[in-house]
């Protein structure tokens, strides 16, 4: 009780929002790993259709791994959404694209051109703008 009186409700809310942003940040890293697995699995589907895509979640190891990671990241997102504003927390997920591009560059030796660097810079700036926006 005495400790609670030291912090104002506004401080407490700001701390909760920060914790939410940190959680969704972790969520994007898991989401990026998931996307790489899903992309890998999706391109190896013999006859792409809604049915084979749905079945592939269980039968295709790459898709299965991807969706499991996706599930973990969704759990983190739910915990983040508990205290965080949806309109601020959700756009942060765009960082996933940044991690995917970096992972593709470092692990799969994809190219990293000017457009990609520009895109990454814009996304990071956009996420920062949303994250800093007034609650």
């Amino acid at each position: 009780m005495s400790a609670a009186t030291l912090t104002t409700p506004i401080d407490e809310n700001a701390a909760k929002q920060r914790r939410s942003l940190l959680l969704v940040f972790c969520c994007t890293i898991l989401g990026a790993a998931a996307q790489i697995f899903i992309k890998n699995g999706a391109t190896h589907l013999a006859h792409p259709s809604l049915i084979t895509a749905a079945l592939g979640m269980v039968t295709n190891p790459s898709l299965f791994a991807g969706y499991s990671l996706y599930g973990c990241s969704t759990i983190l997102l739910v915990i983040a959404l508990k205290d965080g504003e949806l309109s601020i927390t959700y756009p942060v997920i765009a960082l996933t694209y940044v991690w995917v591009a970096m992972l593709s560059y470092f692990l799969m030796h994809e190219s990293m051109g000017l457009y990609k660097i520009l895109g990454i810079a814009l996304i990071v700036t956009g996420v920062a703008v949303v994250g800093k926006s007034k609650r």
């Binding site: 992309k39 739910v78 949806l86 309109s87 694209y97 895109g119 990454i120 996420v127 949303v130």
Partner: protein, 120 residues
């Protein structure tokens, strides 16, 4: 250099997936607000269940939509989901729809375009 044209069906698939996903996010938020760490409470949290279900459905659309077409076209369409989410946030959770948020999301959309414009 190969020019793969993005089929309209892929765009519709991904657009639909993003729309369903944004509705899912709104349900996840509604469910998260009532989050309690007991099996009974989690099992009866239908908002969370609807959110997760919508998420799964949207992923199926993404997998299917992404099998054909250019990511520079498809991923920005996926990112349109952030705009829908801003709308749901305002309607259902009375979160302010500020110019800053809209500006940030717009930067993200343009960024997603550039990021994938290079990867062909």
């Amino acid at each position: 250099m190969t020019h793969t044209v993005t089929p309209f069906s892929s765009m519709v698939m991904v657009f639909t997936g993003a729309f369903i996903g944004s509705i899912g996010a709104a349900f996840l938020k509604a469910g998260a607000g009532r989050l309690q760490m007991s099996v009974a409470a989690l099992a009866s949290n239908w908002r969370l269940a609807v959110g997760i279900f919508a998420y799964c459905i949207s992923s199926v659309f993404f997998v299917y939509g992404n099998t054909r077409g250019e990511l520079s076209v498809l991923y920005p369409i996926v990112s349109l989901g952030y705009i829908w989410t801003l709308v749901w946030s305002r309607i259902f959770f009375s979160e302010p729809f500020t110019r800053t948020k809209f500006f940030g999301v717009s930067l993200i959309l343009v960024g997603v375009f550039f990021l994938n414009a290079a990867s062909r």
